[in-house]
C-alpha cells in the first residue's frame, strides 16, 4: 500500500483547484452517504482528500459484500476512467470527509495533453493501480485457501452422511435382532416344555421295563396287562380339576394305598377302574394285589409312551414353523398363501401370547406374490407392537379377507389403548415410540412399524391403522393379489 503524505496531497489539491481548466470542485460527504451506485452511470473521477469510503459489491441475492476501502490519495471512479460504462461497485462513505471531483472527460484530456497535470496526477494513479493489483493477488490467494477448506468440509459432510446411514442400518438391524431375540426366547420356551416331558418320560419308562425282565408276568395275565398298556397309551390327560376330585374320592375309599398309586388310578376310565377294583377287592389275594400294582405300572408305561409321542410331535411342529418362518431364499419372490406365514409366526410367539386371549379367524385367500420371510417380519412386528400395547392382558384378533377386487387384507387387532388421531401418521416414522425410552425387553426402538411399512411398500401394498369401537387399535395390511 502506497501512502500518500497529506502535505503533497494538499499541495496537489491546491494546485488542481487553482487550475481553472480542470473544472474541479470540492465535494464534502457525510458518513453513510452513497457516493456511487452500482449499475448507474458515473462520469466523475474523484480524489479522496479526507475520510474513508467503503466499496461494496451486491451478489445475485442482493446482499452486499465489502470489497475494499478508499482512503485519502485514492481515486473513486478509477475503473470507469477508460471504459465509461455503468458503475461496477457501490461506494458509501464510512466517515465524513471530502474529495476533489472532476469530469471524467476533462481528466482524460488534461492527462494526455497537459504535462503539468500528468506530472502531478501520474504517480498518484500508479500508486492506486499498484495497490489494487496487490489486493487482487491477495484475493486470489484467499480464494484458493477458501476452496481448499470448502473441499475438506465437503468431505467431512460426506463421511457424516455415511455414518448416519450406517447408524440407521444398525438400528434397523438392532430392531430385527430384538425381535429375533424374542423369537428365540419363544422357541426355547416352546421347545423346552416338550423336551422336559420327553426326557422325563424316557427316564421314567426305564424302571417299569426293567422290572418286566426281572420278574416276567405270568402268561395268564398278559391280556390284562396289554389292556393296561393300551389304556395308558390312548388316555387323554384329565383336567386337573377332575383329576383332583377323583383322587380325593379314591383317597377316601382306599386310605391305605399310597397317593402316587391312587393318582395313577385316578387317570383310569372309571368303569374300567371299578372292574379292576372289584377284581381285587372281591378276593384280595397277594397275587391279585400284585397284579393290580403291575397293572398300574404297565398303564404308566403306556401313558409315558403317549407322552413321548405328544412331545416329539410338538417339537416337530415347532421346527416346521421355524423353517416356514425363516425361509432361507430371502430374495425369491413366490406366490404364497399368506395364512401359512401368519400361522407360523403365531406358533413361534405362542409363549408370549399365552397371557392373552388369541382369536384367529383366517378364511382362505388367493395367493399373493411376495418374499415370504419379509412378510413374516411384518407380521412379527405388528404382533409385537400389539402385545406391547396390551401389556399384561387383553385380546389379540388376527383376521384376513378379500376386499377390493385384486386385493387381500390382513388385520391384527389388539385391545390396548388405541392410537390417538393426531399420531396415526407419525407412528410409522422411524424413531417414533410411545413407549418412552427403549429397553432391551420391550425392543422398542420405534422402528418396528417403520420397517413394516417399508416392507409393505416394497410389495406394492399399504398399511392403515384405525381404532375399533370396542377399544384398541387395528392395523390392516392391504396387498395386491398375484397376477394383477
Amino acid at each position: 500500500m502506497v501512502t500518500i503524505p497529506i502535505r503533497p496531497l494538499e499541495k496537489i489539491r491546491n494546485a488542481l483547484a487553482s487550475m481553472p481548466e480542470t473544472e474541479s470542485v470540492d465535494v464534502p460527504f457525510e458518513a453513510g452517504e452513497v457516493l456511487m451506485r452500482e449499475g448507474e452511470r458515473h462520469d466523475h473521477i474523484s480524489l479522496v482528500i479526507q475520510g474513508e469510503i467503503d466499496l461494496l459489491k451486491h451478489n445475485a441475492e442482493g446482499e452486499a459484500f465489502a470489497v475494499g476501502t478508499l482512503r485519502p490519495g485514492q481515486f473513486l471512479g478509477l475503473l470507469l476512467l477508460s471504459s465509461g460504462e455503468t458503475s461496477f461497485l457501490t461506494a458509501r462513505a464510512r466517515t465524513a470527509g471530502r474529495m476533489l471531483s472532476m469530469p471524467r472527460n476533462t481528466f482524460l484530456l488534461l492527462l494526455y495533453n497537459l504535462p503539468g497535470f500528468n506530472q502531478m496526477v501520474g504517480p498518484l494513479l500508479l500508486g492506486n493501480l499498484v495497490s489494487r493489483y496487490r489486493r487482487v493477488v491477495q484475493l486470489h490467494v484467499e480464494v484458493a485457501q477458501l476452496s481448499q477448506e470448502l473441499a475438506a468440509e465437503k468431505q467431512q459432510l460426506q463421511a457424516t452422511i455415511q455414518q448416519l446411514e450406517a447408524t440407521r442400518n444398525r438400528l434397523i438391524q438392532q430392531e430385527k435382532m430384538a425381535t429375533l431375540g424374542q423369537l428365540v426366547a419363544g422357541i426355547a420356551h416352546e421347545i423346552n416344555n416338550p423336551i422336559a416331558s420327553l426326557s422325563r418320560a424316557a427316564d421314567s419308562i426305564e424302571p417299569g421295563l426293567q422290572k418286566w425282565f426281572v420278574t416276567p408276568p405270568r402268561a395268564a395275565d398278559l391280556a390284562l396287562l396289554r389292556q393296561a398298556f393300551l389304556e395308558g397309551l390312548n388316555r387323554q390327560p384329565l383336567q386337573t380339576e377332575v383329576q383332583r376330585e377323583r383322587l380325593a374320592q379314591l383317597e377316601l375309599r382306599f386310605p391305605d394305598l399310597p397317593r402316587p398309586l391312587l393318582r395313577s388310578l385316578a387317570q383310569v376310565e372309571p368303569a374300567l377302574f371299578e372292574e379292576l377294583a372289584y377284581y381285587v377287592i372281591s378276593n384280595p389275594t397277594v397275587e391279585r394285589k400284585d397284579l393290580l400294582r403291575r397293572w398300574v405300572e404297565v398303564f404308566e408305561v403306556g401313558t409315558l409312551v403317549r407322552t413321548i409321542r405328544v412331545a416329539s410331535g410338538r417339537i416337530g411342529s415347532i421346527v416346521r414353523s421355524l423353517k416356514g418362518y425363516s425361509r432361507q431364499d430371502k430374495s425369491v419372490v413366490d406366490e404364497v398363501d399368506l395364512r401359512e406365514g401368519l400361522r407360523d409366526t403365531l406358533v413361534l410367539f405362542g409363549y408370549a401370547l399365552k397371557k392373552y386371549q388369541v382369536i384367529i379367524d383366517l378364511p382362505a385367500l388367493p395367493p399373493v406374490r411376495c418374499r415370504p420371510s419379509e412378510l413374516n417380519q411384518v407380521w412379527t412386528n405388528l404382533i409385537v407392537n400389539a402385545c406391547q400395547a396390551m401389556g399384561e392382558s387383553g385380546t389379540l384378533r388376527v383376521t384376513c379377507g378379500t376386499g377390493d377386487p385384486g386385493w387381500v387384507w390382513v388385520r391384527i387387532q389388539d385391545s390396548g389403548p388405541g392410537v390417538p388421531e393426531d399420531l396415526r401418521e407419525r407412528i410409522f416414522e422411524s424413531g417414533f415410540s410411545t413407549k418412552g425410552t427403549p429397553t432391551a425387553e420391550g425392543a422398542g426402538l420405534g422402528l418396528g412399524l417403520a420397517i413394516a411399512r417399508g416392507l409393505i411398500e416394497q410389495h406394492h401394498g399399504r398399511i392403515e391403522v384405525g381404532n375399533v369401537p370396542e377399544g384398541g387399535a387395528a392395523f390392516t395390511v392391504h396387498l395386491p393379489v398375484a397376477g394383477q
Partner: protein, 164 residues
C-alpha cells in the same frame, strides 16, 4: 399334626405329570396337589389351607392368563402363605427375565426346564427342610425324607419332653 402340602402349577399336562411323578417320593409325608392355571391354583390353596399348610409351591413361569410370577407374588403377600416356599419352573432361555422374576416375587429358587431329577429333588428337599424348620416343632417325621443333618441339629437344640 397338620399336613404340609406341595402344590404344582403347570399348564402342560405332560410336564405337570412329569413333575408330580418326580416328586412322588416326597408324597410319603407331603401330599401333592396340582393345578393348571393361577385361578385354579388359588382355589386349591384355599382348600389346602382348610386341611393343613402349604409348604411348597412349584409354579411354571408362563401360564395362560395370569403368569406364575404374579401368582407367587400374591401368595407371598397373603400372610397365610408368606412362609410357604416358592420355586419357579421356567422354560425360558433368557436369564434376565428369570432373575427379575426371582427378585420381584422374593422367590426361594428357580428350576430351568428341562430339569434333572436329582436337581429337582435337591431343591425340593432343601426348600421343604427350610419350611419345616421354620414352621414345625415336631421334626421327627421329616428326618428320613428331608435334610436329616439340619433337622437333627435343630432337634438337639430343642428341649426334651419333661421327665421319664
Amino acid at each position: 399334626m397338620s399336613k404340609i402340602y406341595i402344590l404344582c402349577i403347570e399348564d402342560e399336562p405332560e410336564v405337570l405329570e412329569a413333575v408330580v411323578r418326580d416328586l412322588a417320593p416326597f408324597e410319603a409325608a407331603f401330599p401333592i396337589e396340582s393345578a393348571s392355571t393361577a385361578a385354579e391354583a388359588r382355589r386349591v390353596v384355599e382348600s389346602i389351607l382348610q386341611q393343613g399348610q402349604l409348604g411348597l409351591v412349584l409354579c411354571d413361569h408362563i401360564l395362560p392368563g395370569e403368569d406364575g410370577v404374579s401368582f407367587l407374588v400374591s401368595l407371598h403377600r397373603d400372610p397365610r402363605t408368606t412362609s410357604s416356599r416358592k420355586v419357579l419352573l421356567t422354560a425360558q432361555a433368557g436369564l434376565t427375565d428369570t432373575i427379575q422374576a426371582v427378585n420381584q416375587a422374593d422367590l426361594n429358587h428357580y428350576i430351568a426346564k428341562p430339569w434333572k431329577p436329582a436337581e429337582l429333588h435337591a431343591v425340593v428337599r432343601q426348600q421343604l427342610t427350610e419350611f419345616v424348620l421354620q414352621n414345625e416343632t415336631n421334626l421327627y417325621p421329616y428326618l428320613s425324607l428331608l435334610d436329616g443333618e439340619r433337622l437333627g441339629e435343630k432337634i438337639r437344640q430343642q428341649p426334651l419332653p419333661p421327665d421319664e
